[in-house]
């Protein structure tokens, strides 16, 4: 029997077709569609008729609204604070798995990973209960430790709500960052990480002069992924405060979602989504230009 001989490049294309079609339908086409929607005035409709075309009017309106500047301000504030704290706490966690007595390494690692596995919206539910004003465990601990007289209004006070959202988010975020960083540390030769066990100034200096330069690529990749995650945060906001009180903890993503599915204004919602996308794009370009020199993918060549 004669075999059907296909050239290798044809086979490659055939193997790639399912993935490419899927990505086109559910990633690339939707982006283009969102861009188009953002240029139409759509109130409870998605019909793109000529008279509904408004060009950049949605963006102009969005940029003129106080809500937008509030939400972009909170999104950026949230991102800077969470990414910074995640890196510090995550690094401490990752280093601690190398520092501790070897019999505890496995246990500690398992404990660190658990928050990563909790879905974001369930994480929000859990913290909602923890932040309960009357019988929440956090408020109770505050009172017991003598920090406040009464349990604080964690989710009802505008300023406090911002920090409550950040704390709830960090619980999982630090775990994710720690996992990335543990991977980077695993590539550092064992005798160098053992040097971390040297106490005091010597250990600290070795950390800065030897370990940090070696895991710089991992740190940059961690920052990249976590910055993108924070810029597009949705689940924790939606579940914990739903943007409240008022609109103080509203992020670009949560506002966009409200415009889409609550107010059914696809044009305005798309404008918010496009701004989110642009922020993520800018952040990734900035980081990727820094990561690239460190970056190689073996076996792929550099065509």
């Amino acid at each position: 029997m004669r075999k059907l001989e296909l050239p290798e490049r044809t086979i490659a294309i055939l193997f790639l077709v399912p993935a490419i079609v899927g990505l086109l339908v559910f990633y690339y086409y939707p982006i283009a569609h969102t861009l188009v929607l953002s240029m139409f005035d759509l109130d409870h409709t998605t019909d793109l008729t000529a008279e509904r075309f408004v060009g950049l009017a949605n963006y102009v309106q969005v940029f003129q609204s106080k809500q937008f500047w509030g939400s972009i301000g909170f999104t950026l504030f949230f991102t800077v604070v969470t990414v910074g704290l995640e890196l510090v706490v995550g690094m401490m966690l990752a280093l601690s798995t190398y520092w501790v007595w070897h019999r505890l390494t496995g246990v500690l690692r398992a404990i660190i990973i658990i928050p990563w596995a909790i879905p974001g919206i369930i994480q929000a539910s859990i913290w909602r209960w923890m932040f309960n004003t009357d019988v929440g465990i956090i408020g109770d601990l505050f009172v017991r430790l003598g920090l406040t007289e009464q349990p604080p209004l964690f989710l009802a006070d505008p300023n406090l709500a911002k920090w409550s959202v950040i704390v709830a988010y960090l619980w999982k975020g630090a775990s994710v960052s720690a996992i990335f960083l543990m991977g980077g540390l695993a590539l550092v030769p064992r005798d160098l990480t053992d040097a971390a066990k040297v106490d005091g100034a010597r250990g600290w200096r070795r950390f800065w002069t030897i370990t940090v330069p070696m895991i710089t690529p991992t740190i940059l990749v961690t920052l990249l992924f976590r910055t993108m995650a924070s810029l597009q945060v949705f689940d924790v906001i939606y579940g914990l405060t739903n943007g409240g009180p008022g609109t103080t903890t509203e992020t670009l993503s949560s506002f966009s979602y409200k415009y889409y599915f609550k107010f059914v204004q696809y044009g305005r919602g798309s404008a918010y989504a496009v701004v989110t996308f642009l922020l993520v794009l800018i952040a990734s370009i900035v980081y990727i230009r820094r990561v690239q020199p460190h970056f190689r993918f073996k076996g792929l060549g550099s065509e």
Partner: protein, 281 residues
């Protein structure tokens, strides 16, 4: 300090560090577990009890009972995540094989095309995706959730599996090619089994990713209980039952048990996979 004393101090400090980390990492889960075993209504009693006094199974009975049927949402999630995982592994391993092992132009652009998708925020695709699923008549059902979830898992799965393929020696394939085996058989019978650890890590991550996905699941479910996955159901209970936290907690515990077991069981491989791909989430 003698060496022995230093060692003892290190062990003692290690225990302290582990306990501190455990306190912060596990306190929320402990609090939910504790609440889920309180008799309904007693969770609002003051002063707050930090230890279980009596154990009530009432919250579990209620949440598993005919009014809520949390098991239906868990079953839905199991179906969605299992089918998503299988679909994603199939599609991604084919693409990964092409990218990592076959010679063709546009190799670099294909990789870029797949990876750029992973950087796109869900909010920019959600509305058109909703319209596509509506157009396909799949709103309010699980298939409308599974198909996009497979696609969402492709970038990371492809990356993980391709990294794994790239590390395998080329002699194996060359020998098979000399034998005249067709490419699909080389991929299926030789390469896939060799890449099993990579597939496994990708599979666990795809499973967990689709298990926790909320925005799309919430949008597609249209509020129908028979189309809700567990994150959507728990979010619904949280909103609807602000005064019934024992019920909500029981639902949360049931929803988390499978994923925590999965992660504990496959901890090493998941971490390897995640760090290899420096994944999102």
């Amino acid at each position: 300090m003698t060496k022995l004393q230093r060692q003892r101090l290190h062990v003692a400090l290690s225990v302290v560090v582990t306990l501190i980390v455990a306190f912060f990492a596990l306190l929320p889960l402990y609090w939910i577990l504790l609440t889920s075993f309180k008799a309904p209504g007693t969770e609002f009693r003051l002063p707050i009890r930090y230890w279980p006094a009596e154990i009530s199974l009432e919250p579990y009975r209620t949440i598993l009972g005919p009014d809520f049927q949390v098991q239906r949402a868990i079953r839905n999630s199991l179906v969605v995540s299992t089918v998503t995982t299988i679909g994603a592994l199939l599609v991604a391993s084919l693409a990964a094989y092409a990218i990592a092992r076959l010679r063709f132009h546009y190799k670099w652009s294909s990789l870029l095309f797949v990876q750029v998708a992973s950087m796109l925020p869900p909010i920019i695709v959600i509305a058109p995706t909703f319209l596509i699923i509506r157009g396909m008549g799949l709103l309010g059902g699980l298939p409308g959730l599974i198909i996009p979830n497979i696609v969402y898992s492709i970038p990371l799965s492809t990356w993980l599996i391709a990294s794994y393929f790239a590390g395998l020696p080329f002699e194996l394939e060359d020998a098979a090619k000399v034998d005249g085996s067709p490419p699909l058989r080389i991929y299926w019978q030789i390469m896939l089994p060799l890449a099993a650890p990579g597939l496994f890590a990708a599979g666990v991550i795809a499973f967990l990713g689709s298990w926790g996905e909320f925005m799309l699941a919430f949008t597609i479910s249209m509020g129908l209980p028979e189309a809700q996955t567990i994150p959507v159901a728990v979010q619904g209970y949280t909103m609807a039952m602000q005064r019934q936290w024992t019920w909500v907690s029981a639902a949360i515990v049931l929803s988390l048990a499978p994923v925590i077991l999965l992660v504990m069981f496959f901890q090493k491989r998941v971490v390897q996979g995640l760090t290899l791909g420096s994944a999102k989430y």
